[in-house]
Symmetry: C2
Subunit: 243 residues, 2 copies
């Protein structure tokens, strides 16, 4: 086989971990590390209106000890369709009660996790891995179909059939989504047990000029409520942090 693979049999098990720099993916990176993987953190630059989350991803990858961290450029703006990549206003709310999880939010990026996972599968194949970790959660946004387990299961099969490692090498791609059925509070609880420092993460869809969280977008409200459910305050919403 002519494929250039970096792995050898003596190396630890490797996994590619999708890392946005947000609360969920930071937790997932900590979980993959705790499970003994050598972690390959993968972030995307995809025409977000704010790149402050990539800075957070760098901080998280470094602090949690990822073996490598790369940023993959994706020209998502070319295909449009979302408030996160287009010039569409991100919705803000007065309280978490106004969140509507019954349909795809305006922040839905078409086929985003399909694209992200596909790139992860490509990188995984290059570094000799077939395990991919993703912070998908089916509860926060039930309107995101690509955050549900049936999709992730089917993706595993597609990646297995669509790569040399899988189709010819007999390896099976696996997509681990350890947060898929957790509430935000449960995710935070798990991350705190693993020592995740949430003050360096960034989840806000619409940060201020110096990168501070807005506290009123869906993403901010979800994590705010998660901390509150544990009797805690989200560290990125306290005034002294998040610069």
């Amino acid at each position: 086989m002519d494929l250039i693979l970096e792995a050898t049999v003596d190396q630890p098990r490797r996994a590619v971990v999708l890392l946005s720099g947000g609360l969920d993916s930071a937790t997932v990176l900590a979980i993959a590390n705790a499970e003994g993987y050598e972690t390959y953190a993968l972030s995307f630059s995809y025409g977000q209106r704010h790149t402050v989350e990539l800075a957070a991803a760098h901080r998280v990858a470094r602090q949690l000890g990822a073996a490598r961290h790369i940023v993959f450029d994706l020209g998502m703006r070319a295909i449009g369709g979302s408030a996160l990549t287009d010039d569409i206003d991100v919705p803000h709310h007065d309280s978490v009660d106004q969140l509507d999880s019954s349909s795809a939010p305006i922040t839905y990026v078409p086929a985003r996790n399909l694209i992200f996972l596909s790139v992860a599968a490509g990188w995984a194949e290059t570094v000799g891995a077939t395990d991919i970790f993703i912070g998908a959660n089916a509860l926060d946004y039930s309107g995101y179909p690509d955050c549900r387990r049936p999709f992730l299961d089917k993706f595993e099969e597609a990646a297995t059939l669509g790569t040399v490692a899988g189709a010819d090498g007999g390896m099976k791609f696996r997509v681990y989504a350890p947060l898929v059925d957790l509430t935000k509070a449960q995710t935070i609880q798990r991350g705190l047990e693993l020592g995740v420092d949430y003050s360096i993460t960034h989840s806000c869809y619409d940060p201020g000029p110096s990168g501070q969280a807005c506290a009123t977008c869906d993403s901010c409200l979800l994590r705010k409520r998660g901390f509150e459910d544990l009797g805690l305050t989200d560290p990125v919403l306290s005034e002294s942090v998040n610069t």
Copy 2:
């Protein structure tokens, strides 16, 4: 549903067509047009060592009348693993008899069609389409698992489950690979019937400084043999064309 879709019920059936600017994808674009689709041609800029193929893609899209043509940036170099994206020499041969299709060639890009199709699914969702055309061929390179029908079938299911249009909208994504079982000669025959001008296509993996085909890489040899099987000469290998 908050998704921003461009399509309305009065519009013709739309399809996204993967268009590299090579012989196969030009033929597929002509086929999709002939089947009555309004075609959305999608090319990728992914760190190829030569961008001459994107110029060919523009020519082909224009000449065959695609409704739109976009180039999507993919930072494939970041994940490495192929002579097409890394600084690895493309193999050259004295004749077509030296082609080896028993394993993945060094020009294999990890998970390429998985990534390409995922982006196609995202764009399709944005323009209100669920049909995707790809020039995959299982004969030319039996070492490319992502050119085989079992992978394409599984991808259809993954895309359906991973998008709002599919999972919630009841649409079914379809991947059409009309060349999948054709010989190169059969592909060319079909394209000529549809009026494809192969002189404006570009398939070479290792073009010269002014973009001319090398005539000795795997890709050049495959199409050269295809034309010869029909008693023709590949127009890009005649000295007066391909600038």
